[in-house]
Every structure is written in structure tokens, then in C-alpha cells.
Symmetry: C2
Subunit: 161 residues, 2 copies
């Protein structure tokens, strides 16, 4: 693996660990919806806990496919035209309340994102959703985009302009 | 107009003026794409200057419709589960380089978003896009969502859970 790819992997890792929430886009026919949710990242998967009362979550649960983006805050972006971001396509599955992983992952989300989880954990319109990436792109700066492949979203190559 | 609606209009106005960039989601059949761009807001319209080499912009130019979101940074959000955000559906038109408004609006974008505009203004793959909202939602906090109508995205009513 060349040095540039190694460096981009490090920047990507930092983006995923420094940020807390993920943008969610789901398509259906010619409509669709957009939202966000706090995430917990573990072993190449992203976990969110979100309510089906939100249109984008309802659609995500139905389609089982979406496009996701983790993007640095404007505040930390030196140039507003070049916010560092990770975008990927993914399928999802629901981790049901009777699954042995449910409480363990909810506890990790609570530990990362605070006490709100204690309140919403009991709400039956909320679901624990596992996001399983397939491919994506990583933008590390202006004109500096990379192709990502597989569940680990490994940096494959620089995208030529 | 009741006091609550007035207050939400103020929070919405502050969100639009404090933030610099807008999340863009475009749908096509069962696929779609997601991205962002710096915006300039004027008289209920949002203007972006973006390259058709980005898949989401290419799709937006083709479909002439998209879903957009302005969302507060994680950094300024007291609770990560309740980031203040404005989401809306909109159609778009292109303001061509020979249109008398082109240079005027580009100058306003440069003034708001800095010198990068001087560089990209000359690139022919970039287009000045006018975003014309139709309807949306505004989330002012946890369980505190409002319905918005019309080009001005006026706050109409609280959305009942």
C-alpha cells in the first residue's frame, strides 16, 4: 500500500472517530428523503437507533438500502468548499429487541451519545439499525477524492478529475 | 401569528444565516446521490456554484428536483440527538453565464465564501444553480418539528408526534 493511501486511511479513521452523526439519504421511485442520526462505529459497521416516525427512517426500513455521509463540521473545515467527507452506499438490517446483541450495542450508543438513550430505548417506534457498507468515496480536500470498496470501505485509488 | 411560530421563524432565520453549506440529495429510480455545497441565501432562494463532475450535481441538473438540508454543526448542538435543521424539497434552475445576474450572484458567493470562488468561477464544469423551495420541515429540538409551506418555507404548524 503506497504512502498516500495509508495517509488517506488515517484521515478517514479520524473522521469516523471524531464525528458523531451520519447523514442518511433514501430513494424511492422519484421521491426520497433525507435525515441524520447519531452513530456508533464498530468492526466496519455503523449502528443507529432511530424512530420510524421520521420519513427517512421509515423509508430506510422499507427499502433496506441507503446512501450515507459522514462530514466534518463547517467549524473545523478550513475551506468551506472542501469539507472532509465519507460517502457510501449500504444495506441495512434491524437488530431486534430479542437479539442478544441489542442491549450491548444500545449500551455502547448510550456511552458514546449520552443519557437521551435511556429515555428513547423504551420507545417502540425506535429501531436499532445495522448499516453494512458496500462502496463509497472519500474526499480529503479540494480535488482530492478517493474510491472506496467493500464492507471496510478500503481506500482503493485516487479518482482522476 | 402566535408567539411560538414567531419564535421558530427567528430560530430558522438564525440557522440559515449562521450556516454556510447545504446538504443535497437527489433521487433517480432506485438509486440516487448525496453531497453538499456552500450556499448564498437571498429572497427565499438558495444559490450554489457546483461542478457537474460530482454525481449528485450531475443528477440534480438532470432531474431539476432535489431534497436539501441545512443542519447545525455537531459542535454547536447541545444534544447530538436534536441537531437544529431545515429540510425542504425544491426545484432548481441554472443561471447561465450570459444571464445578467450571473456575475452579481457569483460575487455575493465569493464575498460570503472566500477566494476559492475566484479560481472556480472560470471552470466550465461549474454551474450557478438557483434552488427554489416548495415545502419542508424544521426541527427546533427533540420532538419539536414544524411544517413549512411555500417558497418562503413559512412555519405553518407544529407536527404532532
Amino acid at each position: 500500500m503506497c504512502n498516500e493511501i495509508k495517509q488517506i486511511e488515517l484521515i478517514k479513521k479520524k473522521l469516523i472517530s471524531n464525528n458523531k452523526s451520519i447523514i442518511i439519504s433514501v430513494n424511492e421511485d422519484n421521491s426520497g428523503d433525507l435525515g441524520y442520526a447519531p452513530y456508533f462505529h464498530d468492526h466496519n459497521y455503523y449502528y443507529i437507533y432511530a424512530s420510524e416516525l421520521s420519513t427517512h427512517i421509515k423509508l430506510l426500513l422499507k427499502k433496506k438500502l441507503g446512501t450515507f455521509m459522514i462530514i466534518n463540521d463547517e467549524f473545523v473545515s478550513q475551506n468551506i468548499w472542501a469539507r472532509i467527507r465519507l460517502k457510501f452506499d449500504a444495506k441495512i438490517t434491524i437488530i431486534r429487541r430479542n437479539n442478544e446483541d441489542f442491549h450491548n450495542i444500545c449500551e455502547k450508543i448510550r456511552s458514546r451519545h449520552g443519557q437521551t438513550m435511556n429515555l428513547i430505548k423504551q420507545f417502540s417506534d425506535f429501531h436499532l439499525i445495522k448499516i453494512i457498507p458496500s462502496r463509497g468515496t472519500f474526499v480529503a480536500g479540494f480535488g482530492n477524492a478517493f474510491k472506496l470498496e467493500g464492507q471496510s470501505l478500503s481506500v482503493i485509488s485516487k479518482i482522476k478529475p
